[in-house]
Amino acid sequence: MREDVLHRLASRLATGDVDDVIESLRRSPELQGDLGWLDEILDAADVLSLPAVPADVSAKLHALWPEPGPVRTEQAALIHDSRSAGDLVGVRGVHRTAGWTALFTAPTADIAIDGTPSSEEVTTLSGQVLTRATTDGPYSVSITGTAEVASTHCDDVGQFQLGPVPNGTYTLTASTAEHAIAATIDVGS
């Protein structure tokens, strides 16, 4: 059975002398021992012949993806920053050990950001998108300067972890397929 399988494989691979190919296959480390698994692959190959798809058909399959509609964008306003105002009564950061907390508000959602300095020049960001409508989401969150620095998805309760970001001024965007909330954020102590 082993020789039969090697012969089947050699017939498939060989462009010239099948015997030369069989000899090479006999020495191959991955083809030692029982070759039942290879026999099954060769059987599958006999059943499934997969010709190339015509280019125009392939293009139509890709084009099935719906065109994105216009995205409604809201600008969020900064209403609290612990670095300048200290903690407001009743305002708690998402994570108690954060270095600073900022809170942005927009018509459809609030965004709470916690910044934890990792070094003098880098801050680790995390936060939560707090939507007013239960039908909104799930949100993706990205932070962008001249180019996108980091992005992630929120969990079931809108929490996210963006990871370490070099200090500077960025646009933080929380978005779904239909709308986006943008906030200008100063990352740093």
Binding site: R12, L13, T15, S28, P29, E30, L31, W37, L38, E40, I41, L42, D43, A44, A45, V47, L48, S49, L50, P51, A52, V53, P54, V57, S58, K60, L61, H62, L64, W65, P68, P138, S140, A150, S151, T152, H153, F160, Q161, L162, G163, A177
Partner: protein, 194 residues
Amino acid sequence: MYAPRVGDGGETNGGLDPSNALLLRGCRRGEQPAWAQLVRRYERLVYAIALRECTDADLACDVTQETFAELLRSIDSIRDPERLGHWLATVCRRTAWRRRGATTCRPLELTDEHIGVTEDFTDDLTRALEIYDTVQSLGEPCRSLIIGLFFDPAQPDYASIAVQLGRPPGSIGPLRGRCLARLRALLVEVSADA
């Protein structure tokens, strides 16, 4: 190439290639590159099944498009992402039967009972689809290499495969060895889980 986002669970094959589950999740989030990669993974399988089921090449192209359109409509309800090939083959055959029925031309070996059956596969095709889905989970470049070596009716030689993969021709033999070893391990794992 679809790149899963940070914090997305890391379901990749060797760190670079997203799993079917991850691609479906990306599609649900509205990420077009995830859809593009699903199409690239399965378009040849669906087209091949459609050609088998349809005597007319144009009809096979229509059936292929309708199958992927059905996948897009059903994105939220796919329950077993790692058997996506089997799901697509089922939908493709059902669509082909329906379309062939509309043209009043039915193959003699199928009865009216078969047209209503959702998973009327021969054992050989069922096993072939399982192996094909396992090949999909290999990741690149092994996926393209195995499909080129075993499933492409054009039977490309090593030089052609090397060009397709962007590698030196002399590297294909050793790559074949590594890819077959990985596929063997995955098939053993799949058999153990079954």
